[in-house]
């Protein structure tokens, strides 16, 4: 009896795994195909009989990519824009989230709701006025305008996630710091920041990931290769090297690789942040 039951449950386990592997395989196939294409020789890319894995592994596409002088500039621009916008979003967001969680003051609920609702604003509505504003202020094609526009989504998301983390700090910890002689700002620096450091870094990483690949503002607000970030850069490559999918998938892989690495490293905290944030009310 128990033998049968055991065998039955083993069978069920096997079916479950097979199903899961199959689904995961199908869902990761698009990305796998792209990565493998980037390592294929020309003849294997343009064939009507493609294989999933490259038969002759080659870095030819990556060598070709390296020969494009603009490409590293795109990555560097993305790094600068994403790093600055993430840093500002964190710095400003920490102060705001601290106030919303640990202060009691008139208007707290309204400000909280207003800040969180901005997360839903459509970027497409913002982009025309921002374009004209930037051109009037001579900010078109600068890092400044890209960093500012990235903040339009990075800051609300950062606040949203930070609220989730801060609400988990025991209020007594913050009070202990103040009784020990900290003013509010010192409390943030001596207690809140060090205690929440991994979570705050995870939020920084998340906003960095979003900023790195931001498309709409970067496309409309950059004009030259000097300030193009990865997304409009890739857009340009897709125009210039229309059908060279070896080169394009190589570029895509290089653009995504740091994000995958960062995400894998900080996944636990990012997921935890989303988890706690999904519970709190607007």
């Amino acid at each position: 009896m128990t033998m049968i039951k055991k065998r039955y449950s083993r069978l069920r386990g096997a079916i479950f795994y097979c199903g899961l592997v199959l689904i995961t395989g199908i869902l990761s196939l698009p990305a796998l195909v792209a990565i493998s294409t980037s390592f294929k020789p020309y003849s294997e890319i343009f064939t009507t009989n493609p294989t999933i894995l490259p038969q002759h592994f080659t870095l030819a596409s990556y060598q070709k990519l390296l020969a494009i002088p603009e490409f590293p500039v795109y990555l560097l621009n993305s790094l600068i824009v994403a790093a600055f916008s993430a840093a500002i979003a964190i710095a400003v967001g920490v102060l705001a989230a601290y106030a919303l969680v640990f202060f009691r003051f008139p208007g707290r609920r309204v400000i909280r709701q207003a800040l969180l609702t901005t997360y839903m604003f459509p970027a497409i509505t913002l982009v025309f006025p921002v374009f004209f504003g930037a051109s009037r202020l001579n900010l078109l094609d600068t890092y400044t305008i890209l960093i500012l526009t990235n903040l339009s989504f990075a800051l609300p998301i950062a606040i949203w996630l930070l609220l989730g983390f801060f609400e988990k700090i025991p209020v007594e910890l913050e009070r202990a710091a103040r009784v020990d002689g900290c003013n509010r700002l010192q409390t943030v620096f001596h207690v809140i920041l060090p205690v929440m450091l991994p979570s705050i870094m995870a939020i920084g990483v998340f906003t960095f990931i979003l900023g790195w690949g931001e498309y709409l503002f970067a496309l409309t607000l950059t004009l030259t290769d000097a300030h193009r970030t990865a997304s409009p850069g890739m857009h340009a490559l897709m125009g210039n090297y229309r059908i060279d999918y070896g080169l394009l998938t190589a570029a895509g892989t290089v653009i995504v690789f740091p994000l995958v690495l960062l995400f894998a490293l900080f996944q636990k905290h990012i997921v935890e942040g989303m988890t706690s944030a999904s519970h709190h009310r607007l």
């Binding site: 102060l95 459509p122 800051l155 999918y245």
Partner: protein, 298 residues
């Protein structure tokens, strides 16, 4: 004897000081441009001429007679409902699967979440390559098993355009829903399952009497969030199709972009973009009202 204590101005203003940088940035990069967008929508501004005039509701009245606008509006609604629905379906299903305990769960979790961090331009590339008419995997596979005789133009052909674009969108958007549902599943008190099991509930009954009721709020929040997010979608649809041949998959967002940047009619395009905002504003208000009411009931 009532004695009002007088608090120092510093103590009263401190929280506003902490909030000021965030509020200033939000005003600068969100509120101010938004107000300007609404203002533009009331003018005849164009890309090329710097002078423009206030035309009142002229643009909106013109839009009411614009068949392209109504087509895009319909497209946006269908797109939001279908894509949002599929995201919810796949996200919920995968969350249920990943909520079980099994070996290598973390690995599957990471792999399944990864599309979420891929920038839209790269997703666009991935699917353009997958859908490629001569050398794309999908066509080669379908030709190889003789399901089709000649390659399908996935991003052009009227029959395949919508499903192709929606699949690409679902691929990047569902992990977020999955994450939210996993959070919801984990927040259900395990004692409820123990109690239901002690009462003799089977796995189906556990699902319908414990899991689903416990996810009520998460369901509600995600349905609205998905409609909101999918209604304002721009990036992937633009990258893959630019609205499609003959505007077959023209959404409000891509139409606004066409009018304002490519057609240089900034005022008219802003009116379209503003309408997206009005719709989202109404949806957000519903969201806020209902979630706050739900909390009060508790």
């Amino acid at each position: 004897m009532v004695c009002e204590t007088k608090r120092s101005w510093g103590a009263i203003l401190a929280p506003y000081g902490f909030l000021a940088p965030a509020v200033i940035i939000v005003f600068g990069v969100l509120i101010y441009p938004l107000v300007y967008a609404v203002y533009f929508s009331l003018t005849d501004k164009t890309m090329l001429v710097s002078a423009y005039h206030f035309v009142g509701l002229g643009n909106y009245i013109e839009l009411m007679g614009d068949s392209k606008f109504w087509q895009a509006f319909r497209h946006s609604i269908v797109f939001a409902l279908v894509t949002g629905g599929l995201n919810l379906f796949l996200g919920f299903g995968m969350a249920l699967v990943l909520n079980r305990r099994f070996r290598f769960r973390g690995v599957f979790h990471t792999v399944l979440l990864l599309p979420w961090v891929i920038p839209p331009i790269v997703t666009g590339l991935i699917f353009r390559w997958l859908y490629n008419d001569f050398y794309g995997y999908l066509n080669c596979l379908l030709l190889g098993v003789h399901l089709i005789e000649k390659p399908i133009l996935f991003l052009v052909d009227a029959h395949y355009l919508w499903p192709s674009v929606i699949i690409a969108n679902v691929w990047v958007e569902y992990p977020f829903v999955m994450l939210m549902f996993m959070a919801g599943l984990q927040s259900i008190d395990p004692d409820l399952y123990r109690a239901a099991k002690a009462d003799g509930a089977g796995s189906m009954q556990l699902f319908f009497h414990v899991t689903l009721p416990g996810l009520q709020r998460v369901f509600f929040v995600n349905v609205l969030l998905q409609i909101i997010f999918m209604f304002k979608t721009f990036n992937l649809v633009w990258i893959l199709t630019q609205g499609g041949p003959g505007g077959r998959i023209e959404l409000l967002s891509t139409l606004a972009f066409h009018y304002a940047f490519e057609g240089t009619q900034t005022g008219y395009g802003s009116a379209v973009a503003s309408i997206i905002f009005y719709v989202l504003l109404i949806l957000s208000c519903i969201y806020v009202v209902i979630t706050t009411r739900k909390i009060k009931e508790r």
